[in-house]
Symmetry: C2
Subunit: 179 residues, 2 copies
DNA sequence: TATTGTTATACTCTATAACTATA
DNA sequence: TATAGTTATAGAGTATAACAATA
């Protein structure tokens, strides 16, 4: 179980300990500069968003982290593992156990193309398509919640800012590729 | 090594495969609805931001993930492990090995208060203070980069939105606490 | 030589449940 | 009984390096 202290407190660095507990730990925690740092809140927000999506998707047969993988295969039938790992910003070796699991459970198929017998072409099975539909429905609901929270006006701006952060924080190596 | 495909492509779902590779995998990946979903970009942005901070903090003696822990102890000397775990949105058991490591390396001290001998009161050692200063400098630089990317006007709005997401996506249990 | 995917391995982060020592 | 922190354990997620098969 996790509990997250509410972060409502004075904006400056003043500590407002209530000193009621026996151990004399501050009841109100001082977050200092954390309070104003983008990076920290980016972490909390990503965490909260993922948890909410997971709640939405509870009861579905795969973990929510598989969603992007399934969607990318569904959208790009025949994609190779290497291309998929790049699209998802993960190393190809991280993908091996994931795809093994999805194949074992008959959600994807892997075909050796005769043109290049080192590689695989990935595609969803009908069961995989159904699974993806379920997850997509959850994601849609979740995203609608986020819309409601953010507001339709704000949403575009917010998304643009997120994309900007990704684009500009990638290590400069000439082509926008993270190495 | 990770490579992330640039995500510049047509906004609708049309696939624009160049079919130049032998394996016939699409050269341009179709991200479908992912392209417009907040949750996905929140993940990418948080990832990019953390990586950038890690680059900033390379060479420092602790991993960047320790930063929040050290800062919270520094700001709240005498805080208990339970209070710390709550403030950082982690289970207390996750904290044990972290604090053991920090204590072994003499960055924090743990004192048994006579008032409650079950608990610890955590505080930084002088070395811990120095370490925190270093990390804070890195975080400040990093956050200035983010400011430059986001823009000073946008920044406040963006931060407010992040906080709003955290506040509203916490499971409803009456008091803003995540259970 | 270079690339695709696998293997072996390891590290970080995180959690649950049961435990101990206090309270 | 309840709480603070630890232990035992496990799982997800991720990475690097070396490798075999193929190009």
């Amino acid at each position: 179980m996790i509990e997250l202290d509410g972060m409502v407190r004075e904006t400056n660095g003043t500590k407002a300990a209530r000193t009621t507990t026996a151990a004399e730990t501050p009841t109100v925690v001082d977050y200092g500069p954390l309070e104003e740092w983008i990076g920290f809140h980016l972490r909390l927000a990503q965490n909260a968003s993922f948890q909410a999506f997971a709640r939405e998707a509870r009861g579905i047969d795969v973990s929510p982290g598989r969603f992007a993988t399934l969607l990318l295969i569904g959208r790009n039938p025949g994609i190779s593992q290497t291309a998929l790992s790049r699209a998802n910003a993960r190393d190809k070796s991280s993908l091996t156990p994931v795809l093994e699991d999805l194949e074992r459970r008959k959600y994807i198929r892997r075909v050796r193309p005769k043109s290049d017998r080192r590689s695989y072409r990935l595609m969803l099975t009908p069961a995989g398509e159904r699974l993806l539909k379920q997850l997509t429905a959850c994601a849609t609901t979740h995203d609608r919640n986020l819309d409601r929270i953010i507001g339709p006006r704000e949403r575009e701006r917010f998304l643009r800012t997120l994309k900007k952060i990704v684009a500009e924080l990638a290590p400069a190596n000439g082509n926008g590729t993270v190495k």
